[in-house]
Every structure is written in structure tokens, then in C-alpha cells.
């Protein structure tokens, strides 16, 4: 049996043991997301526009992460709308920055890996770098949006008459509570992957100036910074969407 298959079975087993039906659904959502990612790459290789592919499949993946296995519609719908809005705002930021930084494709450090491959494949790698940035931040956006939205839904249930201004303050407060740990998820998630790269840089004694301008490192750091920025933006955005929803539903009942 292949190791990936065996690890999947172990994960499925513990997920079902701990989470029951929800656990099984979470497992399903993980593989569906992987399927979307792979599909995105295949579509780009078939010459579909990388940015359109990332945007459409990105929204689908946000839906998969947020809706699969969760029941509370107030929480999930708010989180989804907010996440999509953040994604769109982020795209406005990602497009110029990726053009400006020109960290697309590969750097000198990748030369070994590229041996024997044709690099002139007719795909715009700047657009691919934009797609990569969009896709790698999705998880962080969805997770933060869910956390804020769940916190606010609970608050609304406990205090149905809460004023919108108080709700906004509460949302920012929840954001302050989660930001530290969310940053750590991202920091470690990325830096685990940097381990080999940093040992390489240290081994070959790169100077600070070389590191700051290094294409491979900058490409990675840009992903980290986009993720951090997306999480920060998610906090007020989710709170805002929740406030608007509350105002609208109150108008209807009034």
C-alpha cells in the first residue's frame, strides 16, 4: 500500500473517531480541496487563464471549506460572503505586487530541479504567481472568517437585541483574540517548509542584502505576507458583513 493511502486511512479513522459524521465530512472536504487545486493546475496547463481559474476555483474552495460539515447557516453564510469579499480585495493587491516584485517562476537555486525541462512553455508565469498567491491564502481567509463569524453568531444568540455598534466592537475583540494564534498557524506552516531553504542559505553564506533581494525567498515571503494581510482584513470584513445582515433582518421583522 502506498504511504499516502495509509496516512489517509489513519487520518480518516481518527477523524471519524473524534468527530463522527462531521469528521468524515472534514476528511471529504480535505480531498475535494486537493482535487480543486490539482484541477486548477491542470486547467492552467491547458492554457486557461491562471487568474480566472484561481478566482473561480478559489471561490469554490472557500465554499467547500466553510460549508462542508458545518450546520449553522448564520455563521457559514456570513463567513462565506466575507471571505469572498476579502479574496476580491486581496486580488487587487496581489496583481500589482506580483508584477512589481517579479518573483514568478524559478530562481537560480532551483536549477538542479529544472534540469532537462523546457522552460519556454508559453504560460505567463507572472499570472501563475498571482494564482499561487490567491490559492495559498484561501485557507487562512476561510479559517479566520469562520472563527469571527462563529463568535459573533453566538453573541447574537445570547444577546438578540445587541446594537450594531456593540457588535462591531465585539467582532474586533474576537479578532484580537484569534490573531495571535492564527499568525502562528501561518508562521509555522510556512516556516516548516523554509527549513531546507534557510539551511541552504546559511550553508552558502548568503549576505543579508542577497537574502532580501533573493527571488526564491522573496516569492515565499510574499506569500506569507499576503496570508497575514488577508487574515487582518478578514476581521473587520466579517464583522461588517454580520452587522449588515443583522440590520437587514431587523428591518424585515420591524
Amino acid at each position: 500500500m502506498s504511504t499516502i493511502m495509509a496516512l489517509s486511512l489513519v487520518l480518516l479513522a481518527v477523524m471519524v473517531l473524534v468527530g463522527g459524521r462531521k469528521g468524515a465530512l472534514a476528511f471529504l472536504s480535505l480531498w475535494l480541496n486537493f482535487g480543486c487545486l490539482f484541477l486548477a493546475i491542470v486547467l492552467v496547463s491547458l492554457n486557461f487563464s491562471p487568474i480566472m481559474v484561481a478566482l473561480i476555483l478559489g471561490i469554490l474552495m472557500l465554499a467547500l471549506i466553510i460549508f462542508v460539515g458545518q450546520d449553522d447557516l448564520m455563521t457559514t453564510q456570513t463567513a462565506f460572503f466575507a471571505a469572498v469579499l476579502v479574496l476580491l480585495i486581496l486580488l487587487v493587491l496581489i496583481v500589482p505586487v506580483e508584477h512589481w516584485a517579479a518573483v514568478q517562476g524559478f530562481g537560480m537555486e532551483d536549477s538542479d530541479e529544472l534540469e532537462g525541462l523546457s522552460l519556454l512553455v508559453g504560460v505567463n508565469f507572472v499570472k501563475v504567481s498571482i494564482a499561487t498567491a490567491v490559492l495559498s491564502t484561501l485557507g487562512a481567509i476561510a479559517e479566520a472568517a469562520m472563527a469571527i463569524s462563529a463568535g459573533l453568531s453566538e453573541l447574537i444568540q445570547q444577546h438578540p437585541t445587541i446594537e450594531t455598534r456593540a457588535l462591531f466592537t465585539a467582532g474586533m475583540h474576537v479578532g484580537q483574540q484569534i490573531i495571535g494564534t492564527t499568525f502562528n498557524t501561518l508562521f509555522f506552516g510556512f516556516f516548516g517548509g523554509f527549513l531546507g531553504l534557510f539551511i541552504w542559505f546559511g550553508d552558502l553564506k548568503y549576505s543579508f542584502g542577497e537574502l532580501l533581494n533573493n527571488k526564491v525567498l522573496d516569492a515565499e515571503l510574499i506569500l506569507v505576507l499576503f496570508s497575514l494581510i488577508s487574515v487582518i482584513l478578514t476581521v473587520p470584513m466579517t464583522t461588517w458583513v454580520m452587522t449588515k445582515r443583522l440590520q437587514i433582518s431587523r428591518k424585515k421583522t420591524a
Partner: protein, 364 residues
């Protein structure tokens, strides 16, 4: 004091902005030669096509630039640059950009774009947003990331000095220090922190142990360690395990912190709550957040492989081969992290429920 509090975000924006602008004039600080492009002329365009029927275009660009540092500062130089429309490993330079160059006896070669301005600008944007929107909590998050970075670099220095002897022990120890420091910064020296720390360590250790067992039992079948990028002196296999350990650590801490915080709140709301009820509540909270958390890591680990996977597909490789060569490691990493994230739920719920409630009643 009150005045200072209101003004310091503005001060931060101003100082940061000046720093970003300053990088445009920072060339004298660099030892490598830097030129600013003053004129560009694209002369040749050739259509190319490879054996896989990919068509592309290659251009030759003649650049004129002004040297910004070194003995010949202010002199004008001419450089030739070739780039492709796809730009996988090359790029077009435009007027106003600053680029690193290297002189040989007669030739001048372009080494790459100077990226310090854009990097600092993005960092500045992140810091400003963080501090303006989330105030003190944002600063603390920043502080914890900065401290962890310093420790991370120290560990790498130690590893290089020891020529990677005892690599896994070093980075296992590092993970312990990371967890303790980060949780202490977020929660302070409290009982809550101790429980979260114990759960994080136990959950991560269980998942790494279990996964190492699975890897051994399946003889690492389908895991292509040789595809790991940037491997120098460390054997790929320990490097993979250490990277996975660190990668999952943050997510496990994130989740454990959430669960413990909720259980403390529940206990305070309802002091007579039983240990079993607390355990069930912990499981419920954990189940709701484990899915999104695992997806965060999956997307970080797999999205990055997009350029290389694309290149392999475009070079006529099959889906299966492309997966094995570019994503098998990231997928294994995601699954192992997932196991850790799930196992931490019962561990943290059990620990919290036992330590918060005693048989005689509520503990203090």
C-alpha cells in the same frame, strides 16, 4: 501619554513609508553593483516551440543604465538582456527599475531585480494594518513572530555549526521552545497555558510517532524524498520530518488554545459542570475547527508547487508522475499535520476536563 497613544500609528506609517522610499536610494549600502535602467530597446523577437508543441517568444533587450554605487557611480553602462514571454526564469526590465549587475573583464551581466523596495512596502502595509486594526493584540502577534524568527535563525546557525549532527533532536527541541514561548506570549504564565502546552506537545508527538510508524510499515512507498528542494547537508528524510513537525505545530497550538479558552469560559459560566460534559464540549469545539485548520496547511503546502507542477505537465509528463514528483511530499505533510490536529482534540479536552474539575467539586 494619551496624545502619544493617538499619534504613534501615524508615526509608524510615516517612518515606515520613509524607510520604503529610502530603499530607492540605498544602493551605496550594497556591495554588489546596482544600476538604474534609463532606457530600454527591444530588438529581436523569435518564436520558439519545443518538442511538446509549446510555443513561446524570446526577446533581446538592450538596456542603458546609470551605475548607482561603486567607484564608477554615475557612469552610464549598456547591458544586453534576453527574456521570454512566459518569464519562468528571466524577465523584462523596464525604465526606472534598479537591477543588480556583475562586471567581468569586459562583459556586464544582469544578476537580478532589486526587490528590497517592494518587500519592505508589503511588510510595512502588513504591520500598519495589524497595528491600526488590532492594536495591542496585533503588536503581541508581531512580537511573537519576530521572537520565533530570531530563535529559528539561531537554531539554523547551531545546526550548521554542528554539521547537522543530531538534526531531529535539535529541531524537536526547537519545537518545544517555540511552543512554550509562543503560548507564554499569548496566554501568560497561567494554568491555561500549561494545559495548552501539554496538549500541543502530546498531540504533535503522537502524530509524528504514529506517522513515522506508518512511513516505516509502508516502506515510504510513493514518498519521493529526492524531490525535496534545497537539500544540502541534511538527509532528506529527517529534514522532511522536522519540516512537518514545525509545520503542524502552529495549527495544533491554534486549535488547543481555542479549545482550552472555551472550556475555561464554560467552567466559569457554570461552575458545577462535570468533567464528562467539559470533555464533550471540547470535542465539539475541536470538531468544528479541525477541518478549516487542516485545509489552511494543505493550501500552504500544495499551492506552492503550482509552478513546478505546471512545468512538468507542460513537458509532457502524466498527472500521476507530476503528483509524485511535486506533491507527494506536501500531501504526506498535510496528512501527518492533520492527524496531529485531530489527535490534539481528545488530548486537550481530557487534560482540561480533568484539571478543571475535581471529584469533590470545582478546583480553584
Amino acid at each position: 501619554m494619551g496624545k502619544l497613544k493617538r499619534w504613534w500609528p501615524l508615526l509608524l506609517i510615516l517612518v515606515g513609508g520613509l524607510l520604503v522610499l529610502g530603499t530607492r536610494y540605498a544602493a551605496p549600502l550594497y556591495r554588489q553593483s546596482i544600476m538604474q535602467v534609463t532606457a530600454s530597446r527591444v530588438t529581436e523577437a523569435t518564436k520558439t516551440s519545443d518538442e511538446f508543441k509549446n510555443s513561446d517568444k524570446q526577446y533581446t533587450q538592450y538596456l542603458t543604465g546609470r551605475l548607482l554605487n561603486g567607484q564608477r557611480r554615475g557612469h552610464t553602462v549598456h547591458v544586453k538582456n534576453t527574456y521570454s514571454a512566459s518569464g519562468a526564469m528571466d524577465e523584462k526590465y523596464s525604465v526606472g527599475e534598479q537591477v543588480f549587475i556583475s562586471h567581468t573583464s569586459k562583459n556586464i551581466l544582469i544578476k537580478g531585480l532589486k526587490r528590497d523596495t517592494v518587500m519592505l512596502a508589503l511588510l510595512w502595509l502588513a504591520v500598519v494594518l495589524l497595528v491600526v486594526m488590532l492594536h495591542r493584540a496585533g503588536l503581541m502577534a508581531l512580537l511573537s513572530v519576530a521572537l520565533n524568527l530570531v530563535i529559528f535563525f539561531l537554531a539554523i546557525e547551531i545546526d550548521l555549526a554542528r554539521r547537522s549532527d543530531g538534526f531531529l533532536w535539535l529541531f524537536g527541541g526547537l519545537a518545544l521552545i517555540f511552543a512554550a514561548l509562543t503560548l507564554w506570549l499569548i496566554l501568560g504564565p497561567t494554568k491555561q497555558m500549561l494545559i495548552t502546552f501539554a496538549a500541543t506537545v502530546t498531540g504533535t508527538a503522537l502524530s509524528i510517532g504514529l506517522s513515522a510508524l506508518v512511513l516505516a510499515l509502508t516502506h515510504h512507498n510513493g514518498i519521493y524524498y529526492e524531490t525535496m528542494a534545497y537539500v544540502t547537508q541534511v538527509a532528506p528524510q529527517p529534514l522532511f520530518l522536522a519540516a512537518t513537525l514545525l509545520g503542524s505545530l502552529g495549527a495544533v497550538m491554534d486549535e488547543s488554545t481555542d479549545i482550552v479558552a472555551t472550556l475555561f469560559e464554560l467552567r466559569d459560566d457554570k461552575p458545577t459542570i462535570s468533567a464528562l460534559e467539559l470533555f464533550q464540549a471540547g470535542r465539539q469545539v475541536g470538531t468544528a475547527i479541525m477541518g478549516p485548520l487542516i485545509n489552511v496547511l494543505l493550501l500552504i503546502f500544495i499551492a506552492e508547487t503550482m509552478p513546478i507542477a505546471l512545468l512538468l505537465l507542460k513537458n509532457g509528463n502524466s498527472w500521476g508522475y507530476t503528483f509524485s514528483m511535486t506533491m507527494s511530499l506536501g500531501m504526506a505533510q498535510s496528512l501527518i499535520s492533520g492527524i496531529g490536529i485531530v489527535l490534539a482534540i481528545p488530548v486537550v479536552s481530557f487534560l482540561a476536563s480533568r484539571l478543571l474539575v475535581t471529584k469533590a467539586g470545582v478546583s480553584k
